[in-house]
């Protein structure tokens, strides 16, 4: 509708239409075009909205008018309070993180030639259902480091820092050897010239350190404490505390020598289990096995447990939506005139200053759109929570939309409280969405 002639023509046309006797037929025609849409909107959106609001003031069975009792439930029942608290965490964390990550990705991809490949990789999760994405992450989060990729990665990092002990499962074979901290200590004290026997049992065949051979009892030497650490177990019996034929020495075990509660020496066993502390001054010593030997291997963080489930679901959700933020912000970025940025650079601005003082302020409208859209999405989040969180922790990871479904449709049919939750979501979404619509109308 640009030219003046068009405007003139259109007003002339309007006059023509007004004068026409078939005016009502034209209105009827317009109504005919609108009818299917109005019918669907009326039955499926307008009527249920009114109905849900009314329903929220009635008891769960629908028979009794209960004023605001259902809404009181929202803030008194533990389950619903957890849902509100979790949803508050979502709103506080997710929109800001998604927007920030999207901004970083959008700015960085401008600097590489293969940005399309990167954008496609990051954007892909958005095309997939949040439910399927949730399952994908549930697999990532499995607790056993032999199944869950995240814990497997953490194990690699952790094992690089602290190696698991050579004997993660073992217990003493005689009562003389007793637990001490994470390790074991021989209760009777020892003197130079003696031989000590540190027998261990409860070691599965695959738990025996590699290279172990038949255990050997050392011969006593003057001025030295000699000893053996061995697997004091022989199929079909044997005597505890005695090194016997067929029993393996345990190599690589850290043996510690203490005097008056202070560690004075430390040694590692050989492949036949022998160790020796030589050149000792006369006196009373105690022999033990260091805690390091029994250090447990990484058992996996329980991402799907009650305490970590909400952060775990949030990470998966950010994985989905970062691509959305990136693409929208990248489009905004490409609309910034290049010469503005060039001018800022030639004026001597560093990359960071240009980003902080020019790019971000110019992007502010786009950033706020992404942020607002994410707030709305997060208030209605459902699929991803139900997919990632096992049923046993769903009350810990509860959010409003999930709480609605669980109260009204999963087991108990509490339609009164369910309606109140729906209205609560609605009331939270309205002001935010109105902001968005104002922008729409400006753009339209």
């Amino acid at each position: 509708m640009s030219g003046k002639s068009v405007a003139v023509k259109s007003s002339a046309y309007r006059a023509l239409v007004a004068a026409e006797p078939g005016l009502w037929r034209r209105y009827a025609l317009a109504f005919g075009f609108l009818l299917p849409a109005l019918f669907l909107l009326g039955i499926w959106i307008v009527y249920p909205t009114v109905r849900t609001i009314v329903r929220s003031f009635f008891s769960d069975s629908g028979g009794r008018f209960v004023w605001f009792d259902n809404y009181k439930q929202l803030f008194t029942s533990d389950i619903l309070r957890t849902a509100i608290k979790n949803n508050a965490i979502w709103v506080a964390v997710v929109p800001a993180l998604v927007t920030a990550i999207g901004l970083i990705f959008a700015v960085l991809t401008e600097r590489v030639s293969w940005s399309l490949a990167f954008k496609t990789a990051v954007f892909m999760p958005l095309a997939v259902s949040a439910f399927a994405a949730g399952i994908t992450w549930r697999l990532v989060y499995l607790k056993d480091p032999d199944q869950g990729a995240l814990n497997a990665g953490i194990r690699v990092a952790k094992d690089a820092v602290s190696v698991p002990g050579v004997l993660s499962e073992a217990s003493p074979s005689t009562p003389a050897l007793s637990r001490n901290g994470g390790g074991l200590m021989l209760r009777p004290s020892s003197r130079p010239g003696q031989v000590v026997r540190l027998g261990l049992t409860g070691i599965p065949p695959e738990g025996v350190p590699r290279g172990a051979v038949q255990a050997v009892t050392p011969v006593p030497k003057p001025g030295a404490i000699d000893g053996v650490v061995w697997r004091d177990f022989k199929p079909g019996g044997g005597q505890p505390g005695q090194v016997e034929q067929g029993e393996l020495g345990l190599p690589g075990v850290t043996v510690q020598l203490e005097q008056n509660g202070k560690r004075v020496a430390s040694s590692t066993t050989e492949s036949d289990g022998r160790f020796a502390f030589a050149d000792l001054k006369p006196g009373s010593y105690r022999v033990g096995i260091g805690a390091k030997t029994f250090a447990q291997p990484f058992a996996g963080i329980s991402w799907l447990g009650a305490s970590l489930i909400t952060p775990a679901v949030i990470i998966a959700y950010i994985w989905i939506w970062a691509g959305f933020a990136m693409v929208v912000i990248a489009a905004g970025l490409s609309a910034i005139p290049r010469d503005v940025l060039e001018a800022a650079r030639t004026d001597g601005g560093t990359e960071w200053q240009v980003f902080r003082r020019v790019t971000v302020p110019l992007l502010a409208p786009v950033l706020s759109v992404v942020f607002i859209t994410m707030v709305i999405n997060v208030l209605k989040v459902f699929d991803i929570v139900i997919a990632v969180a096992p049923e046993s922790v769903q009350s810990n990871s509860n959010v409003l939309a999930l709480a609605l479904w669980r109260t009204a449709f999963s087991g108990s049919a509490q339609f009164g409280v369910g309606s109140a939750i729906a209205v609560f979501i609605f009331v939270l979404v309205i002001p935010i969405l109105l902001l968005n619509i104002r922008r729409f109308k400006r753009d339209a």
Partner: protein, 297 residues
Amino acid sequence: MMATAAEVLTHKPALAEPRSRKIVRVLAKSPVQFALLVLGLLWLLPTFGLLITSLLSPVDFQVKGWWQVFSAPHKLTWSNYDAIFHNSTILHSLLTTGEIAIGATLLPIFVAALAAYAFAWLEFPGRDWLFILVIALLVVPLQMALIPIFSLYNTIGIYDTVIGLILFHTAFGLPFAVFFLRNFFIGIPRDLIEAARIDGASEIYIFVRVILPLGLPAIASLGIFQFLWTWNDLLVALTLARSTQPITVAIFSQLRTFGSNIEIIAPATFVSLIIPLAVFFAFQRYFVQGLLAGSIK
């Protein structure tokens, strides 16, 4: 401007060096490239893990995660896929998903296009008011409708039917679709429409022969969105149906025993996401256009 990766890569080094060393050298020069490469791979990793898991026998998976295939590629097997493609529940649910998604894409587009044409090009009293009212319905989250529609469907007997699900998705797709199409249609040159009117063409003829062909790009964008939205739905089907299960609900019902059902869950999930991905890759341009035009859902 800094040198692009292409320039760096095409620059021939004086000495021949192994490709891996060359990649490392190029990446070391550019931390941004390196960071993005790592992030991109990280982003692909969960989906890749799902794919490989779906190709492992349950026995192998119980022993070790999907990364075992790097040392033992022969463990990959189609047996899980073979099983789910002979599993009538899964097959049936895929068919149901297709029915719902196609129905709930075509119907709202048609209905919205009719309404959008009226809002853009027909004269009637209260037109602008009504249009604003329709857009205002965008604020209603679909959670508001679940309980009354559940009761309504049970009363009129379309609970647990494909048509019930299609109608629900259609209604909730309409406000955005009407808004989106009306804004597109209004950009169609007035002269084209008035010329047709003066030639005596009926409004229905104009709608079918002028508006729909010219509106095709917008309709395509909208169609892709609506298709993905309904294909990916879980909540509506979970609430308004029981035995009419789309694939998401079929997988959901296996979730209670996640660890022991992984040989069904992983391949079924991968199948459920391969179709949206294919749609996304085939129509990426429209997808991004639609996304930029307004992401409100």
